[in-house]
Structures are given as structure tokens and as C-alpha cells.
Amino acid sequence: MSKPEGGLIIRILGEGQFDVAEGALDHLNELDAAVEAAIEADDEATFRPALHALLEGVRKVGVQHQVDEIDESDLILPDGDASIAEVRELLADDGLIPG
């Protein structure tokens, strides 16, 4: 296992895993809160830029996690194309891996 010391692994769905230093988390949490608010308000117009800002934040502070390392992520984020409905589905209880 090669978890970064004091850091986290964040997965962006459809994109892969990133190693992110702990110190960057506060900023990412702010961006995350904006996304969450947009989902609660069901506001697609603010949701899209908020999600993109969050993903961009992760890409900016993170470095790509070693591809052939099998590690669980600490945090998982939706695909940048995902709609509010799709994100809601991700937060609901259905099977993920197709038969």
C-alpha cells in the first residue's frame, strides 16, 4: 500500500485516482459544499460550474495515483459530465457493477 503520508486518495469517477495532500482539504471542502448546496436546491445552472470547480481543484492540487496500485479511495467524486439526477443516483442504493 502506498498511501501518501498524511494525504488522501480522491477518485474522480471516469478519470481515476489522485493523491491529495491533507492541507488542501479545507479548500476542497468549501468547493464540495457549493456542489452539495446546488444539488439540494436542484439548481443545474449552479451545479455544473460548482462541480467543475471542485474537480479542477482536485486535479490542481493532486497528482495521479500510481495506476497499478490497488488502493481504496478516501473520497469519491462524480464524473464532470454527470447530471444532478445521476449524482443523486450515485447517492442512492443500486448495484454499480453491471452483470
Partner: protein, 261 residues
């Protein structure tokens, strides 16, 4: 709880649910590996399917572009014969085709993006599956069933997350492809039904070329007649203001020039 946190927990729970604990935990490793190989071939098929759809759209764009090109030359020919009405009709149909071409090009870009994503997903999964196979053998060889449990759990849930991610990417690609297949099917039907053929006219059903052709026969005849009579070529039939020499008609102008020489 933050969205990121909640999503990770639910995602993990879902990914792990797929793998029931076997009696000997080492069997879980084999079972998981089997699932990984299945998913790998599934993602490969997914890439091939998206590529097929993309190529189909490419072919349609080419066909429609050819037809638009034909309409363009028909419009030019019609104008040369002073038939603005026919030229207008051809250009109107061409503009309809251009709209369809633009839509198809948008779809093409989307399919291409989906294909790239899926190829990357396949590469990531491939790397992880290979790493898993190595680790699986190490765990089996080195540890007793009881000792192996923690390591197995780590490996299996780690790869389960990747599998969940890839599974979703396949699903998304399938959904997108299905939508586009339906639209592509509609366009194929349109082409096959002759609705577009009529417009651009390869066959006898093409009204614009038919009319242009008959006009060009007529004007050939008129030119020939004029030459025989030693007169300047008259205007094409059905045209008003025939009295003024055919200034608008390049063919009769040319004929006149030849007569004067």
C-alpha cells in the same frame, strides 16, 4: 456529511456488496479475479461498440456531404440557365442537409469523447487487474486463510472500487450509444426511403436534375436551330422579355460571339 464523503461510503458499500464472503477467504480472491476478467472483456466490447457507432456517423456525414455538394452544383447549373426558382429550391434543400450534418458532427464529437474515456478506463482496469493477479498469488502462497483475510479485504475492495467506476463508464457509453443508434437509424431510413435521394437526385426520382436536364436539351436544340438559321440564339422557352438579346444567358452569348467571328 459532505457529498464527497457520502458518495465514497455508498460507492464502497455497493462495490463490496457484489462480492460475498466465501468460506475460504482465498476463494474470494479467485472469484473477484474472475469478475475482473469478465469486466475487462466487457469494457473491450464497449470500446468496439462505441467505435462502430462513431464510424457509422462518419459514413453518414460523408453521404450527406456528397448530397449537399450535388445540390450545390445543381443550384449553380440552374442559375446558369436562369432558373432562380430551381436554384432556390436546391439551396433550400441543401441548407436542410447542412443542419443534419452539423447535428451529426456534434454526435460524432460526443462519441469520440466517450470512446477515449472508455479506452482510458480499460487501460486503468488492465493495470489494476494485473497488479491484483500478482498480489493474489502472493497472498495465497504466503498466508494462512485467517492471516490472509485482511490483505484479501484490502485487495478486493480496492479493485472493487475500480470495477464499479469502469462499470459505470461502460453503462454511460452504452446509454449514449443507444441514443445515437436510434438517431442514426432514422437517418439511414431517410436515406434508404429515397427522401434524401429525391432531394439530391441520383435516380430518376430527382425533380431538379430532371428539369435541368430537359432545359439543357431544349437550349441545345434552340442553339442548334439558331445556328442553322444564322440567327442569334433565342431565349430559353418560357422566359419573359425574350426580345432583348440573351444577355443573361452565357450560352447564347457565346453562340452570338461565334456567329460574329
Amino acid at each position: 456529511m459532505s457529498m464527497m464523503k457520502r458518495m465514497s461510503m455508498i460507492f464502497r458499500a455497493k462495490a463490496n456488496k457484489a462480492l460475498d464472503a466465501a468460506e475460504d477467504p482465498r476463494e474470494t480472491l479467485d472469484y473477484s479475479y474472475q469478475r475482473q476478467l469478465e469486466l475487462l472483456s466487457k469494457v473491450r466490447r464497449g470500446v468496439a461498440d462505441v467505435a462502430t457507432s462513431r464510424k457509422r456517423v462518419e459514413l453518414q456525414v460523408t453521404q450527406l456531404e456528397q448530397q449537399a455538394g450535388k445540390l450545390q452544383s445543381q443550384a449553380e447549373k440552374a442559375l446558369q440557365m436562369d432558373r432562380e426558382d430551381l436554384a432556390r429550391e436546391a439551396l433550400t434543400r441543401k441548407s436542410g442537409l447542412n443542419q443534419q450534418i452539423a447535428d451529426l458532427q456534434t454526435q460524432h464529437a460526443q462519441l469520440q469523447a466517450e470512446e477515449e474515456k472508455l479506452v482510458h478506463a480499460q487501460q486503468r482496469l488492465q493495470a489494476k487487474v494485473e497488479a491484483f493477479r500478482t498480489r493474489k498469488e502472493t497472498i495465497k502462497a504466503t498466508y494462512t486463510a485467517a492471516e490472509a483475510q485482511t490483505r484479501i479485504n484490502e485487495a478486493v475492495s480496492g479493485i472493487g472500487e475500480e470495477m464499479g467506476d469502469v462499470g459505470m463508464a461502460i453503462q454511460r457509453a452504452e446509454d449514449k450509444t443507444a441514443t445515437m443508434q436510434a438517431r442514426a437509424g432514422a437517418i439511414d431510413e431517410l436515406i434508404a426511403s429515397g427522401a434524401l435521394d429525391d432531394v439530391t437526385g441520383t435516380g430518376p426520382g430527382d425533380d431538379i436534375s430532371r428539369e435541368l436536364e430537359s432545359m439543357s436539351h431544349q437550349s441545345d436544340v434552340e442553339l442548334e436551330l439558331a445556328r442553322l438559321k444564322g440567327l442569334s440564339a433565342p431565349q430559353a422557352p418560357g422566359q419573359l422579355g425574350a426580345g432583348q438579346a440573351g444577355a443573361a444567358d452565357p450560352l447564347s452569348k457565346q453562340a452570338e460571339g461565334e456567329e460574329l467571328r
